[in-house]
């Protein structure tokens, strides 16, 4: 895409005076999940770019917060903001992620964010 065909300031114009991700509020539709839902991380192809850590794929966690609406990293990394999604904060038991995690720390958890496309009901 050459600069002549694309308004490179579109994101700045939209967020100006409002903030990001606030400028995407109301654009993602109904949230598919809610607080407390058990979810499994999907294994979508991760070619070219993603911020969904590979070590979370297939692991089961619990949603602690429905955080905001925003374009997914996979879209925004090419300056596309057309399809905002809900983002969720998900907490995992460390032992769920790392088989060798010491049993004496069985209450340890890890919390991280995902856009909706990466989650399925568990």
């Amino acid at each position: 895409m050459s600069k002549n065909q694309h308004d490179r300031a579109h994101h700045a114009k939209k967020a100006s005076g409002v903030g990001d991700p606030q400028c995407f509020r109301g654009e993602a539709g109904q949230a598919k999940f809610k607080n407390g839902d058990k979810v499994r991380i999907r294994d979508l192809p991760d070619i070219f770019y993603t911020r969904c850590q590979v070590y979370t794929r297939g692991a089961v966690g619990r949603i602690t917060k429905v955080v905001y609406e925003s374009p997914a990293a996979e879209d925004e990394a090419w300056d596309n903001t057309d399809h905002p999604e809900w983002f969720y904060s998900v907490v995992f038991r460390q032992h769920e992620l790392w088989p060798d995690y010491p049993a004496s720390y069985k209450n340890d958890t890890l919390e991280t964010e995902f856009s909706e496309r990466w989650l399925e009901q568990a």
Binding site: S2, K3, D7, R8, A9, H10, H11, A12, R40, I41, R42, D43, L44, P45, D46, I47, F48, Y49, T50, Q53, V54, Y55, R57, G58, A59, A73, E76, A77, W78, D79, W98, P99, E120
Partner: protein, 148 residues
């Protein structure tokens, strides 16, 4: 797409670890039948997603921010204010598009600076010819100065 089994994922990390420079294995110019699905996935992964991969500890040193690093940060922010890239596009370019070797081997702000140069060429704000000529000009000016 179904979820992966967790044990397949742990095998993935082992394989990726072997592809890193420190654990080199022969892999140049493979014939197509040398690439199975597991190896294809390991090769195609995003270079910044290192969580879970085996590696040696990195020594941490306290250091002051250098002037070129502050200048690089300011330049990259200006490119964002002018709509040349968003933070996510910048991260994609400096953490993934640079490739495995540069991601691991260049200093943090070195990757920022390289990506800033790359995007102004990619998006046709300057041509590579103009950039190369400018680097050459600055280089010879600097060499003349330091010769004195």
């Amino acid at each position: 797409m179904p979820s992966p089994s967790r044990s397949a994922l742990m095998r993935h990390f082992d394989l990726v670890g072997q592809l890193q420079p420190a654990y080199h294995q022969p892999q140049h110019a493979p014939y197509p039948d040398a690439i199975d699905h597991a190896k294809y996935r390991a090769l195609l992964r995003s270079s910044h997603d290192v969580g879970g991969e085996p590696d040696v500890p990195i020594e941490w040193e306290e250091k002051e921010e250098e002037q070129w690093e502050a200048n690089t940060f300011a330049t990259c922010e200006c490119l964002a204010w002018r709509g040349v890239w968003s933070a996510e596009e910048r991260r994609r370019r400096q953490n993934v598009d640079v490739g495995e070797t540069q991601y691991l081997a260049l200093p943090y702000y070195g990757r920022w600076l390289l990506s800033a140069a790359r995007i102004i060429v990619d998006k046709q704000y300057v041509t590579l010819t103009e950039l190369v000529n400018k680097i050459d000009e600055v280089k010879s000016r600097y060499e003349q100065k330091s010769a004195r």
